[in-house]
Amino acid sequence: MKFNRKDLLGMRELSREEIQLILDTAIPMKDVIKRDIKKVPTLRGKAMVTVFYENSTRTRTSFEIAGKYLSADTVNLAISSSSVQKGESLRDTIKTIEVMGFDLMVMRHSMSGTPQYVARNTSMSVINAGDGQHEHPTQALLDMYSIRESKGTLEGLKVAIVGDILHSRVARSNIYGLSKFGCEIRVVGPSTLIPPEVERMGVKAYYSMEQALRDVDVINVLRIQRERQEAGLFPSLDEYANMYMLSNRHLKYAKEDVLVLHPGPMNRGVEISSEVAEGSHSVINEQVTNGVAVRMALLFLMMGGSKDEIAG
């Protein structure tokens, strides 16, 4: 199995074998993180840049440290304070970054499809670190890594994704990734936050937590944005919390060894209760470590290797 992609834009395009390779490669990477000397020389002489058009300290830091553990030079571009405000076009910004000699760009953007646009217009490798409501492939990969690490397999698991499915790139990427491993995927949330024709993605949609969580192996809780309430998609955060906040009373519907995930940052008391977040089923902190490991695996697979084949 080889990983021959210039870019990683979404889980939809990845094959099961490619996902497996990334997850397998992340295992030794996690070992590196746990050592005293958390650095290998693998990507010495390579340069990567994180370009975030939307705030996310968590994901950006994760990519940054992943690059550093592998000895790549890592630069963060704080875009809000930079050229956008001077009215520079995205194409020009990208070109400027490219000619500085970066090998890889990690991009977060609030608008769906922007990494696709960028990837088409640059010779750098592009990793999508979340685009609008479209995809967030590295989050799905770290979720899958965490599930596989705990459950031993992904095959045939029942996974419930809870919350604002409509606006969630995490949900979409998880659905694409997990369905390649034969998981039974359920989405649950208020009907205004379930996207149109979602069942054509091969998932089952629920409005009731009790029904959705019955016998599930994994619950992935999504972050709810206050602005959705302001847009009139549900009446109040209280009502949302009453119906959809994952709390201990819900866990009894699920399997006894159910795993609880959350991509962070959490709104405690809104989409997840503190008892659950800190309880024995939660792997929320482990997810963060796994995120670094998975991103190291990706950086290694995408930035190592020459562009042209060299015999022998």
Binding site: L90, T114, R120, D131, G132, R172, M201
Partner: protein, 428 residues
């Protein structure tokens, strides 16, 4: 000055004509149609295996002038029309300033006259400043040369304004061309709402955003007895509303674009903003309904909604990209290739939809091969194979989702007033 179009398949739906014949043009007028016309002293166009049609009319284009000459101007727009096989275009009034007064109408007509290629019929605004509040001076606009009114690009939000427009235009016998969109439902929408908007994570524009306004405008036409024309109709239920209204005797007509007939929302997966358009490309189910409606006569004409944009407006983040497709230079080839050659649309119906269809809606002098009529002709080579190369467009707008496609069936010669203005993709 004699021009003989020899041995072509002459198709004139206005006269129920479809036969291989010769057509003679003398001094800009169609003087004779028949077999073996004497060619003495005439310039001869060998039209064997060609379709000889009444000049095509595109009743919905944006020429962008005045105000947005960086997107298109009347010269480049009419050049695009000519090579696209159109002998006449109706230009929408959402320019800068908008076409809500006679001087702007005269400006456009003078510019078009000077360009000297195809006929340009301006359309005036429904409301002053296109603001949706007070009616424009319709009589004045018509006197200056407008053929209809429209606030295209913006829907008329207020029902009473639309009611008054329909009531008022009734006495002039012109249609109100309506851009049907409920802006609250379509707000921030990037593409058709459905499975693919879910997959691509783009905010959807539900079909209902169009249908609500189609229903309202039809009801207002019914109330007033005015003529409502639905611009760029794109959904299955809009068609159903038109059918039902017609059955009740409402004066309603509608147009559909080549892109809505041939491209589905699925193609937005690579976030190519050239396919971003309003109304959005719909799902396969709607496309099928549109094609059936072409066949059964529910749709009166094909119009491009030619919406040229400059590169920067498209070469950016998908969500920030402007909506619109530069359509004049591909319309005929797309319909020929995707619908006629595929057996989805009879060639005779295609000619009707491009010629007498729009002429009848607007009461234009054209769209026919009557003896004595002005010699506006579109000659099509159904066997011509060409690739869509936007960089070679006459239009300033290179924004087409058909780029790179190889299509069969292209305009061969465009004749306006008996004069050849374009031949095989080039201005003569």
């Amino acid at each position: 000055m004699r021009l003989l179009v020899k041995g072509g398949r002459v198709i004139d739906p206005d006269n129920d004509l479809d036969q291989i014949m010769d057509l003679l043009i003398e001094d800009g007028i169609i003087s004779q149609i028949g077999i073996d016309i004497d060619q003495t002293g005439a310039e001869v166009i060998d039209a064997r295996n060609m379709l000889v049609c009444p000049g095509f009319i595109d009743m919905h284009v944006h020429l962008r002038e005045p105000g947005f000459e960086y997107k298109e101007d009347i010269v480049t727009g009419t050049r695009a029309a000519a090579v696209g096989g159109f002998t006449a275009v109706c230009c929408m009034p959402n320019t800068q300033p908008v076409v809500d007064s006679a001087p702007v109408v005269r400006f456009i007509r003078e510019k078009a006259e000077k360009a000297g290629l195809v006929r340009v019929y301006p359309i005036g605004t429904i409301s002053k400043g296109q603001a949706g509040q007070e009616l424009s001076e319709v009589a004045d606009l018509l006197a200056a040369g407008c053929v209809a009114i429209s606030d295209d690009g913006k829907p008329v939000v207020k029902a009473n304004v639309m009611r008054n427009a329909l009531e008022y235009t009734k006495m002039f016998g012109i249609p109100v061309l309506s851009h049907c969109e409920d802006m609250e439902l379509s707000q921030d929408g990037q593409m058709h709402e459905g499975y693919f908007s879910t997959i691509y994570g783009l905010k959807g524009i539900p079909a209902a955003a169009e249908e609500l306004m189609v229903a309202r405008d039809i009801r207002l036409a019914e109330l007033t007895g005015g003529h409502i024309h639905i611009c760029h109709l794109s959904t299955k239920d809009s068609l159903e509303l038109v059918r039902q209204a017609r059955a009740r005797g409402v004066n309603v007509s509608c147009e559909v674009t080549p892109h809505h007939l041939t491209l589905s929302d699925e193609i937005l997966g690579d976030y190519d903003s050239d396919a971003k358009v309003n109304p959005p490309l719909r799902s396969a189910e709607h496309i099928q309904a549109l094609i059936e409606a072409l066949q059964d006569g529910t749709i009166d004409c094909i119009a491009t909604d030619h919406a040229p944009h400059h590169r920067e407006a498209k070469d950016c983040e998908f969500q920030l990209a402007a909506m619109g497709i530069s359509g004049l230079e591909t319309a005929v080839a797309v319909i020929m290739d995707r619908l006629v050659q595929e057996g989805q649309l009879d060639v005779y119906d295609m000619v009707r939809l491009f010629s007498c269809g729009p002429a009848d809606i607007l009461g234009l002098d054209g769209g026919t091969l009557n003896i004595g009529a002005r010699a506006d002709l579109t000659i099509i080579d159904p066997a011509a194979v060409r690739k869509v190369e936007p960089e070679k467009f006459q239009s300033k707008g290179k924004n087409t989702p058909f780029k790179g496609q190889i299509l069969t069936g292209w305009p061969y010669i465009t004749i306006v007033n008996g004069k050849i203005v374009a031949r095989e993709g080039s201005i003569v």
